[in-house]
């Protein structure tokens, strides 16, 4: 039997190492703005949430969604549009984006869930590409221009988000909320069924579980949270553009999760941090970034399948 995509995750109990990891992460997030450019940090957090949402599918259900940018990008457009044109307050805009992600995920899921593994990946990619072309042409997305000058707005109508501090704390809050939600999903009876499906779907079906429904639900949860990430990003960076729906974006989130560690709780966060800061530092090398990302892909797949967090966890014999 072929080795599974990630190492088997057998212990259902919340571990102490995960708690420690969480506290470390929290401390870092609160202290970091003092020495790292806050806008960069916020960008990292949005992508970290995106990667966590993606990881939910690949790490715990075993489904590689190769077109996850669809939900991230379109939620970004929806949120930007309602914030700019209809004057929604930021939290409503982000909720709108999340719902968009969920809705699109539902439709895509209904089409794609019927196939597994490779076919699933290719279908999700093709769907994302179709929606990319749609985004190029649809008037409300602004095509090449994207939706620009998205107002930061006032959170709940009260807190002005053009203040860097207020925006940062809001983003941290959203990220932590999403992160904890995913954590809760993984460590719940629902999460157990998902892992069972990943290990041996036929057996799960024979036990009476309607696996397609579970997979679809997990898919929609993942796309909804990807939508939250995209919607938040649109408010923070005040821009929604074609880059967010392009297939290279789908590839990047895969890369982040792979580098950080598929199927680990903190992997996607670390991966997002690594990749985004790398892109930032190497921006002056423009096109080389793509080559470097390709090299990292190849190295990770061949030699480094557990990712950074996965390797640390294996070394220390803990669960992360």
């Amino acid at each position: 039997m072929k080795q599974g995509v990630i190492r088997a995750d057998l212990m259902p109990v919340q571990s102490r190492s995960e708690m420690i990891g969480f506290v470390l992460m929290l401390v870092f997030l609160l202290a970091a703005p003092a020495f790292i450019y806050p806008v960069l940090l916020m960008k990292v957090l949005c992508f970290a949430l995106f990667a966590c949402a993606f990881n939910l599918l690949i790490g715990y259900v075993g489904l590689l969604s190769f077109g996850h940018a669809l939900y991230f990008g379109w939620a970004s457009y929806v949120s930007a549009y309602v914030a700019k044109t209809w004057g929604f307050t930021p939290e409503l805009a982000i909720i709108a984006g999340t719902l968009a992600g969920a809705g699109l995920g539902l439709i895509a899921g209904l089409v794609a869930i019927r196939r597994q593994g490779i076919y699933f990946a290719m279908i999700t990619l093709a769907l994302a590409q179709m929606m990319y072309f749609f985004a190029v042409q649809a008037p409300f997305t602004g095509g090449e221009d994207g939706i620009q000058a998205v107002p930061r707005g006032k959170l709940f109508g009260l807190i002005d988000l053009s203040s860097q501090t207020a925006m940062y704390l809001t983003v941290v809050g959203i990220f932590l909320g999403g992160f904890l939600l995913i954590y809760r999903i993984i460590h719940s009876p629902f999460g157990e069924v998902l892992k069972a499906i990943r290990e041996n779907e036929a057996r799960a079906i024979s036990l009476g579980y309607k696996t397609d429904r579970y997979k679809l639900l997990a898919f929609v949860l993942s796309t909804a949270l990807a939508g939250t990430a995209g919607a938040t990003k649109a408010i923070v960076l005040q821009l929604a553009s074609l880059t967010d729906v392009h297939w290279t974006m789908s590839g990047e989130v895969v890369l982040m999760t792979l580098v950080g560690g598929l199927g680990t709780v903190f992997g996607p966060v670390v991966g997002a941090f690594v990749i985004i800061t790398m892109q930032n530092e190497l921006a002056q090398f423009g096109q080389w970034v793509q080559v470097i990302q390709g090299v990292i892909f190849v190295i990770c797949v061949l030699l480094f399948r557990r990712g950074i967090v996965g390797e640390i966890a294996a070394l220390l014999r803990i669960r992360l």
Binding site: G143, D145, G146, L237, E281, Q284
Partner: protein, 403 residues
């Protein structure tokens, strides 16, 4: 967090003890951002950084006690990367003015950020006429060219010389639509007819079916409302299908001398286009081109490069008069007050809506036997005087223009 490509520092010792000017952080920092490695690298790219440097040298900034630094960056034609760079440049690196920025989507994003942070934005590469229309700000000046000037120049002049039936091949995205719309309006205003149009997906690779439709329409002129590699491919494939031999002419609505260079005269001959500047028009231009190409791997300056030179020169002139670079809107206001004059564009002015005014030229691409060598590509078909070349002030919808 430094983000420099080909960092060219012109750090000059502040020798002049009598300098009364107060530059923010003691340095005037110019940020040249454009496409350094993609489709537009030849018409802007590192050449624009070079043009800026030449402008600073020719202005004699050193002797006047102005310490100037130039930095460059690649926006890869993406608005998110461009916004990121500009935001970091202004917040962290204290850049005072952003120059060039081709690709309208990026320019529009930068336009907003520069306004929010009260710096200066001098656009040379981008085309969107909205930059002096509904998106105009007190911090932005649009140099060189825009979609209205192109549509007006090409559309107008072609109809007047007999090209009165048009078929549009349009890239199906906002920019393509805008270009088609503006040109169609000009064509119809001058008594021409639009007999058909087809929208091709953007970006496209195979234009054969669309060109076939253009051929069937028997329009005298096929207007290419697209840009970059789409334009180049359409022209190549048109030549493959014998469209020009069949008696129809191609009008490139957005094309640069670098596109002609990439196509070669054999394929591009007879092409009609509008540009703001050409190196072979007069002695001053020729001299600049020689000096420029020697430092630019033999690639001759495009109108975008010339625009960067002119814009930076005028910016420094305004700074000299104002003696401060801290308030972006104030600097731009000064730039609108002083009439412009430089060796490349001659005399001109900057209007209230931020539009720089100068004549435009309608060019036709020479046949291979008419050209004396590389970069000798154009013959002048018409000169459009400055007061007719750009959209009238009142028609733009710019909030800065009081009616």
């Amino acid at each position: 967090m430094k983000r420099f490509i080909g960092f060219t520092a012109l750090a000059v010792a502040l020798s002049c003890a009598t300098a009364q000017a107060q530059w923010s952080d003691g340095v005037i920092k110019i940020g040249v951002m454009n496409d350094m490695s993609g489709t537009y690298a030849d018409l802007s790219g590192p050449g624009s950084v070079l043009a800026a440097r030449m402008a600073v040298e020719d202005f004699g900034a050193e002797k006047k006690g102005m310490k100037v630094e130039i930095v460059g960056a690649d926006h890869q034609n993406k608005p998110d990367i461009g916004s990121n760079v500009v935001r970091t440049w202004i917040d962290v690196d204290k850049v005072d003015v952003i120059v060039d920025v081709p690709t309208s989507s990026v320019a529009l994003a930068v336009n907003q950020i520069v306004k929010d942070k009260n710096k200066v934005f001098l656009v040379s590469g981008a085309a969107a006429s909205d930059l002096t229309g509904k998106a105009c700000t007190p911090n932005t000046i649009h140099w060189t060219y825009d979609t209205w000037a192109l549509a007006n120049g090409t559309g107008n002049a072609i109809v007047k010389t007999g090209g009165d039936s048009w078929f549009f091949l349009t890239a199906d995205y906002a920019f393509g639509h805008a270009l088609e719309r503006d040109t169609a309006a000009v064509v119809e205003k001058n008594g021409g007819k639009v007999v058909g149009k087809v929208r091709h997906p953007f970006p496209g690779t195979d234009f054969s079916s669309f060109l076939l439709q253009a051929q069937t329409s028997k329009a005298k002129i096929i207007g290419l409302a697209n840009a970059g590699s789409d334009t180049i491919n359409s022209i190549k494939q048109a030549s493959e299908f014998g469209i020009v031999q069949g008696g129809q002419n191609l009008a490139a609505l957005l094309a640069f001398i670098t596109d002609v260079h990439a196509l070669g005269l054999k394929t591009a001959q007879g092409l009609i286009m509008t540009e703001a500047w050409y190196w072979d028009l007069n002695d001053a231009n020729r001299e600049f081109a020689k000096k420029f190409s020697a430092q630019n791997k033999g690639v001759y300056p495009s109108m975008v490069h010339a625009g960067v030179y002119s814009a930076v020169t005028h910016y420094l002139k305004a700074l000299e008069a104002l003696k401060s670079d801290a308030d972006g809107a104030a600097v731009v206001k000064k730039m609108k007050e002083i009439p412009t004059e430089d060796k490349l564009f001659g005399k001109g002015e900057v209007r209230a809506d931020g539009r720089k005014i100068h004549p435009m030229y309608l060019f036709e691409v020479k046949k291979p036997e008419e050209s004396k060598g590389a970069w000798d590509y154009y013959k002048v078909r018409a000169t459009i005087p400055a007061d007719q070349a750009f959209r009238p002030l009142k028609d733009g919808g710019c909030p800065l223009v009081s009616n």
